[in-house]
């Protein structure tokens, strides 16, 4: 049975994870897709502070997130970022 039929929440999370990976790779085109794993912080992928601003702003815009940017500073890795996006208030 396909994963998304049995577990719609898991499928939604996987969609968010894919969006995060695509956004990271759009801002950091030299990072291999396989490197963008959930246990890494954006810093570990070579994102400088302006890259991190751009990645977070792109995700906020794409998803219509209403949370302040400051909330994103506390997230330890990409898994936490995806979890936060899944539960974040939307406009």
């Amino acid at each position: 049975m396909p994963h998304n039929v049995a577990d719609p929440a898991g499928a939604a999370r996987e969609e968010l994870a894919a969006l995060v990976r695509d956004t990271v790779r759009a801002i950091l085109p030299t990072v291999p897709a396989a490197s963008v794993t959930g246990d890494k912080h954006l810093k570990e992928l070579g994102a400088d502070s302006v890259d991190r601003v751009e990645i977070i702003l792109t995700l906020i815009e794409r998803l219509g997130i209403a949370e302040p940017m400051a909330r994103f500073a506390e997230l330890p890795d990409i898994d936490a970022l995806v979890d936060f996006l899944a539960g974040a208030e939307r406009r």
Partner: protein, 410 residues
């Protein structure tokens, strides 16, 4: 109308090329593009927050008649480089500027925001009419404690002061009365918990800056009818920790408020924001003086014959407090600022290399440490003190005697 009558900045006597600092610290040169810094001011052990403040304000005060000087009845220094728990930087500055004794003298602190808070309070006080003809002198002054521990913030940290004379003849910037927006809340994004150590959470600080830019402008719009990000302000001057953050902030608000695409955002940035970044990119972050260094850059880079124009300004201080406000830069602003020769004085700073820079850091780190008695020998700094023959009198820090700071004009 009340506003800034005169303005000057003092950005030290030494400058370090930012690529040399990157190479010396082993920082990734690929990040230079986002930092948008070419060089930064570096302090000397014979400079401190008092001497920086006096050196910024002296040309402004010297240009006044004795009557005008005596009309300064409020002197406020804003600093995150305190020299004592009780005694203010302003108390020394008051003496070395030779201001009258019928004067309110004090110091304020709210990281890189404080000078703007005082500017607004002073302008409100002067406009109230309780003391007709009065003026206020607000001086943002700081020294850098950034070293290798600061990472990529070290190349962006500046050194110096900005002095603003506030009064009824607003030749530089006429403040728009009642046109402001505020946004403040508690956070520990950056701080100076010890007199020789800065701490910072880069993401917390940058994200708070960007949140505050959006929220303070939203508050401004709620107070100012028909205010529009794209059409109300001919140009913008924003607090500049590094120019790359200002670019990101402009991009954020322009996308949020106008829906403009990348090309339109880039063109708007070049037109309305880039003029404010020339000086900050050569000096580094001047703390609460930063937005006023950006304003000086904007005015000095106005096209000749530019018509009067409305400027949007944004001030952010970690901790955090922020304000978006606006004012009119008149036709005479360029002329009013020209005698300060800011661009020439930046070019006259002595270039140093990485090794000399790290030697200076050891002395600079003692600047704010409480020491009862200390002598500072000027001999090692002679070439910095004599490099610019047109600089006029300069105040230097000579040490302390029983905790009393000592200074000398050179």
């Amino acid at each position: 109308m009340t506003g800034i009558e005169a303005i000057n900045v003092y950005c030290g006597l030494a400058r370090l090329p930012v690529p040399a600092l990157f190479a010396g610290r082993g920082l990734d040169p690929a990040r230079l593009d986002h930092l948008m810094m070419t060089e930064r001011s570096v302090g000397l052990p014979c400079e401190d927050p008092v001497s920086n403040a006096v050196n910024a304000a002296r040309p402004v005060v010297d240009a006044l008649s004795p009557e005008e000087r005596d009309s300064i009845e409020l002197l406020v220094t804003s600093s995150e480089s305190g020299i004592d728990y009780s005694k203010s930087i302003a108390s020394y500055v008051h003496a070395y500027l030779g201001l009258g004794r019928n004067c309110r003298v004090m110091e304020v602190k709210q990281a890189c925001y404080a000078a703007t808070g005082v500017l607004q309070l002073a302008a409100g006080y002067l406009a109230s009419g309780v003391s007709p003809g009065a003026r206020a002198l607000v001086i943002a002054t700081d020294v850098s404690m950034a070293d290798a521990r600061a990472g990529y913030a070290e190349p962006a940290t500046g050194h110096g002061a900005a002095a603003l004379l506030i009064g009824p003849d607003a030749r530089v910037l006429e403040l728009d009365p009642g046109a402001f927006g505020l946004y403040s809340y508690e956070t520990l994004d950056s701080a100076r918990p010890e007199p020789d150590r800065d701490i910072a959470d880069v993401d917390a600080s940058l994200f708070a800056y960007l949140d505050c830019l959006s929220r303070s402008f939203a508050d401004y719009r709620s107070r100012v009818a028909d205010a529009d990000w794209h059409t109300t302000f001919t140009r913008l001057a924003l607090h500049t920790p590094f120019a790359g953050l200002v670019k990101a902030g402009h991009r954020k608000l322009t996308r949020e408020l106008t829906g403009a695409g990348p090309d339109a955002v880039a063109a708007d940035f070049a037109e309305r924001v880039a003029p404010s970044l020339h000086y900050p990119s050569r000096v580094g972050n001047l703390c609460s003086g930063s937005v006023y260094l950006a304003l000086c850059s904007l005015i000095d880079h106005l096209p000749p014959g530019a018509p009067p124009q409305r400027i949007g300004l944004f001030s952010y201080g970690s901790g955090c407090a922020s304000e978006f406000f606006s004012g009119l830069v008149g036709e005479g602003a360029r002329q009013a600022l020209a005698p300060a020769r800011i661009g020439e004085r930046l070019a006259a700073r002595v270039p140093i290399g990485f090794d000399e820079y790290t030697d200076l850091l050891a002395g600079n780190s003692r600047c704010l440490l409480p020491v009862a008695d200390r002598d500072i020998d000027l001999a090692p700094y002679e070439r910095f003190l004599t490099a610019d023959p047109g600089r006029g009198r300069l105040l230097v820090h000579r040490g302390t005697k029983n905790y009393h700071r000592t200074y000398e004009w050179v």
